[in-house]
């Protein structure tokens, strides 16, 4: 099924110390990621979906090396993980992620500069121009500053910047959630075109299920720092096996329905990630919880195995 992965995460845990005592020793920890293992193959578009507080953004920071995992390993093929030129990121807010004092050509080529290459100014401008054309910014605009562009155009600039070092993987952290619907469609189309023409690998983090469904071939659903379900996008989103994924899919408002049908969920609060629940993390909100849920759940591979559909619930295939 999957060719050799270009990114491998093995049992990554991240916890942040909080509430220090008078000697500055932490008394408690926030458990942001609790054992994330995932492989990404070349040409994949992996979607990561989950609600706020589930660890999506921590995962993004781990992936680009802004944070170090407390335990577990992260391996990127070809380059070693330390230089991290194999991965670039597009942030959510194009307003704050572009330096307002730099002209666009400098913004676009900054990753090349930061990696230590020092091409001539002319070469950098030429690179910026060719990237600008690829993302649909007119090449004569590269001498302008970020404030002269609209939100959608700024996001295009951020994408051009991510492309500049020719990375293996681009991590897209909520790339369209700050944009209007009509502009979102333009950006999603651009990303798909780039992915096809360059056979790129994307990791798309989003809370918007319909964006994930549209863009990704594989999807992982996160809950409280764990992956609770992963597999081919259509399998996961159309036939969810994990009760949390089922709840999520039921809650997404749809254009076609006349109105919400079922009763509102009584418990919508995430359990605390300071004191992690024993056993299955979802059992307090789960309608199907039984005595078997008291033990920690492992990802179970479903049949047929080649689809790679995995669910963290012992009832999923029962």
């Amino acid at each position: 099924m999957t060719p050799t992965p270009i990114l491998q995460m093995k049992d990554v845990h991240v916890r942040f110390p909080i509430n220090p005592d008078w000697l500055g020793r932490p008394r408690q920890h926030v458990h942001a990621l609790n054992g994330i293992s995932i492989d990404v193959a070349r040409g994949d578009i992996l979607g990561i979906v989950g609600e706020s507080g589930c660890g999506k953004s921590t995962l993004a920071q781990i992936l680009v090396g802004l944070l170090k995992p407390t335990s577990g390993s992260l391996q990127l093929a070809k380059q070693d993980a330390a230089t991290r030129s194999g991965m670039q990121i597009v942030f959510q807010d194009p307003q704050s992620s572009l330096n307002p004092k730099l002209p666009v050509w400098k913004i676009i080529t900054e990753p090349v500069y930061a990696l230590g290459d020092r091409p001539s100014q002319q070469a950098m401008m030429d690179l910026a121009k060719s990237l600008a054309i690829q993302v649909g910014i007119r090449p004569e605009y590269i001498y302008r500053f970020p404030h002269e562009f609209s939100g959608g155009q700024r996001q295009r600039i951020a994408i051009a910047r991510a492309l500049s070092t020719n990375p293996e993987i681009i991590l897209l952290d909520e790339p369209t959630s700050a944009l209007d619907i009509s502009v979102q469609a333009q950006i999603l189309n651009l990303l798909q075109e780039l992915q096809r023409s360059r056979n790129m690998t994307f990791i798309l983090i989003s809370h918007n299920v319909s964006v994930i469904r549209h863009m990704c071939n594989r999807t992982a659903v996160m809950y409280l720092g764990q992956i609770v379900e992963v597999g081919a996008t259509l399998d996961v989103l159309e036939n969810p096996r994990h009760p949390y994924t089922q709840l999520l899919m039921e809650s997404v408002p749809k254009l076609s329905d006349a109105g919400f049908s079922s009763d509102p969920a009584e418990k919508t609060e995430l359990p605390s990630n300071i004191k992690l629940p024993a056993g299955c993390f979802f059992k307090d909100r789960c309608a199907r919880a039984t005595s078997g849920c008291q033990t920690p759940q492992a990802l179970v591979t479903g049949e047929p195995r080649q689809t790679g559909h995995q669910v963290r619930c012992h009832l999923a295939y029962a």
Binding site: S210, L255, F260
Partner: protein, 331 residues
């Protein structure tokens, strides 16, 4: 105006003076909300939906805006001419507002109970104890398991969804006839959003409260609203029952917006985006504001099309010279 109409805005045009020229935020907006109705206003950012919501309660800073034309009638009060005192009677009493950011809408230094009691006692002649009882009752209607515990907490001790439920309870505290909800669930997760919307709908149905619901999310509108107005660049461009507007849109913009949603397209296919971007409100083109992005535009579009008046408000109206017929919309 018929007796069941609670809010009626007529030909409202608002502009903001700028250093150079004026920003035409609203251009001839007319809408009505009837008793017990849930009416949506949907549009992209900068389309004027929040300005409309703010104007219905005159919450914009006095002097920062100019009213070019129009009037607002809320429960028989002429909002644009009323004194500050009259408006204060209305705000929080017969008309309540739910804002997008539940953290900034609550006072962080005072307990939830105190804030609710303040509002209740401002508009109703009750004792403190009675007000607390009313507040606890409202919170248990909002599915809080232990209302007394919530009343004794500060807003920062609550999660986003809980805060928004507190705000909805607060909005219902004086039995309002109208609730203006400005993107009440945009900051919430989908599972919480569903819960909040269903509670809001249930409360409104029980008390026959009308809701003016501002959102940018088409799917939420389709789940929640009876009727919807679509806004673009400060004008209403289409209105009608939610079903009709969302399933057979007649304005090219509405149709473009729906086609641009990833949920309407097959996975992996090209999305139909609307070319260009929203016009600058200080340099609006003469005539239809959508003409430069529209595939149907012609000479005639240099004149501004009006949302045709119709005797019954639930008719499907569209401000376009070249409206799409139902047949085209299906195809």
């Amino acid at each position: 105006m018929d007796s069941r109409t609670v809010l009626s805005i007529k030909d409202l045009s608002i502009e903001f003076p700028l250093y150079e020229g004026t920003l035409k935020a609203l251009n001839g907006v007319s809408l009505t909300v009837k008793q017990g109705e849930i009416v949506g206003i949907v549009g992209e950012s900068g389309s004027g939906k929040s300005i409309t919501a703010m104007m219905t309660m005159r919450l914009l800073g006095e002097g920062s805006y100019r009213v070019r034309t129009g009037s607002i009638d809320m429960l028989g009060v002429d909002i644009l001419k009323a004194s500050e005192k009259e408006i204060c009677e209305l705000r929080g009493g017969d008309v309540a507002m739910i804002f997008q950011e539940p953290m900034t809408a609550l006072n962080p230094t005072r307990k939830v109970g105190k804030q609710m009691v303040d509002v209740i006692r401002r508009h109703q002649r009750v004792s403190k104890g009675q007000a607390e009882e009313i507040a606890a009752g409202l919170l248990s209607d909002m599915h809080f398991a232990d209302p007394e515990d919530i009343l004794a907490r500060y807003p920062f001790e609550l999660s986003g969804g809980m805060r928004q439920r507190v705000l909805i309870a607060l909005a219902f505290s004086c039995n309002p006839k109208v609730i203006i909800a400005d993107e009440p669930t945009t900051a919430l997760d989908v599972t919480v959003q569903k819960q909040v919307l269903m509670l809001l709908k249930k409360m409104a149905a029980e008390r026959k409260t009308a809701i003016l619901f501002i959102t940018h999310d088409m799917a939420v509108v389709s789940q929640f609203c009876d009727r919807v107005y679509v806004m673009y660049a400060g004008s209403l461009i289409e209105s009608g029952s939610t079903r009709k507007v969302l399933h057979s849109p007649r304005h090219p913009y509405t149709r473009g917006l729906l086609a641009a949603l990833p949920e309407t397209a097959a996975p992996g296919t090209q999305l139909k985006s609307i070319p260009g971007s929203v016009p600058d409100l200080s340099k609006l083109p003469v005539g239809c504001a959508f003409q430069s992005r529209c595939s149907q535009s012609s000479e005639k579009c240099h004149q501004k099309p009006a949302l045709a008046e119709a005797p019954q408000t639930d008719a499907h109206l569209c401000a376009c010279w070249h409206p799409l017929t139902d047949l085209e919309a299906v195809a």
